[in-house]
Amino acid sequence: MQSDGESMKVNKNCVGCGQCAAFCIVDAIDIKGKAIITCTCTDCRKCIPYCPVKALEA
């Protein structure tokens, strides 16, 4: 079920706390005011449950 990282989305709930970036296993998330999913993302979805504001959607 891995793709090229085009399906992970960050919704408007995101505050930019960076929690997802710390749990991303491929270092694919940049943080600046909010999370930015970069092209390194493999859509593994491991970050989703760590978001405290439910801002990550696949």
């Binding site: 709930n13 505050v15 930019g16 706390c17 960076g18 929690q19 970036a21 710390a22 749990f23 943080i31 600046k32 005011g33 909010k34 449950p49 760590y50 405290p52 504001v53």
Partner: protein, 430 residues
Amino acid sequence: MKAIIIGSGLGGLLSAAKLSKAGYEVDVFERLPIIGGRFTNIQYKGFELSTGALHMIPHGPTGPLARLLEEVGANVKIIRGKPVTVIRITRKRGDTDYKFGYKDLLFENFKTPFSILNRIKLMYYAISTRKDPPTGKSFEQWCKEHLDQDWTYRISDAFFGWSVSLRGADVPVEEAFAIIENLYRYGGPGVPMGGCKAVTDALVDVIRAHGGNIHTSSEVTGLKTVDSKVTGIIANGFEHNANIVISNIGHPETARMLSETTGINGLKAYLEKVSELKPSAGIKICIQSDKPLIGHGGVLLTPYAKRVNGINEVTNIDPALSPEGKHLTMSHQCVHWSDLDNLEKEIELGLEDIKEIFPEKEYEVLMIQSYSNGWPVNRSSSGADLKGTTPLSNLYVVGDGAKGKGGIEVEGIALGVRETLHNILGKEML
């Protein structure tokens, strides 16, 4: 007796530790896979960053949080740095930023930049405001009327920005004086060895040692009520009964679960009051360097920066918070509600500040973390906190949305927990 705690942040864990020690059967439900809310560590590039707090306890080893930790038997070592707090001022009087150099001033000497007249006034106010505390205005307004000088606003914005992520204009004068009083009573900040996670881990140990359970990845979606009492919660679709429920997810989220309940006295007024609460916002910039940028484990207040209020370098106290030979420095800046739509610009200003504060030093930005709205600095801005009670007699709220008076950040959480637990346990708590 059974107690259910919603949320495993610091307030929830403190309550759970105290209750499990008092003989309650305790279950903590945590929505996330990790325990500790905004008071634990996250590992990033070998550094121990944090989910929220800056690995600091505002009143160090002698404050309300340290006392509560000791009471429940949580084994945490809190070290107060020396110097405790330093203020970075401009090299020359009249300069308005650090471009032409700086001088560092011990916090104890914060009066030095005041005019002679204002220094005399300060001595008078130190006594008169204790006898007759001012009320009904913002701290900034009080300053305007009593100590009108550029330095007054700079030092109060830096201090309150660092400690409660608010500008002087947004701190009620009553709360400001209560905070200052506590600063004299309890002393300055300290670093928990191991960072925030050492505190929450120690509490988890206490809870488990007394038979309590913590359920991670377990979201509480509803409350069960009968008449004016809560009888349990619904988590992951299952019902769990309890004699008391303590919510550590703030008043608004707690109220949301009650919004469709009917027949509860005072619920409408509660929902209205809750809707007025404003969380405080802030930005934390995490920096790594080979050589120390500050060189001590205290706080560096930066009243001449554009946005950054203060900075700490906790690795001067606990080197294990970074990889060997590296330092971890963290800045905090308050974000005013009107600037929340321009977070990127606020971040840029913060980054420019750091360049000016540490000229010619080599460092690298590790991560920039911002906090607002649903995951804020404080769920209720200091001075506007509601009490820990709700219209349901056995439903309580703890955490940074129900801080005790004059309690900075986690100290406020500890004071709020103490009051709530006193309500529940009565005199045995004291």
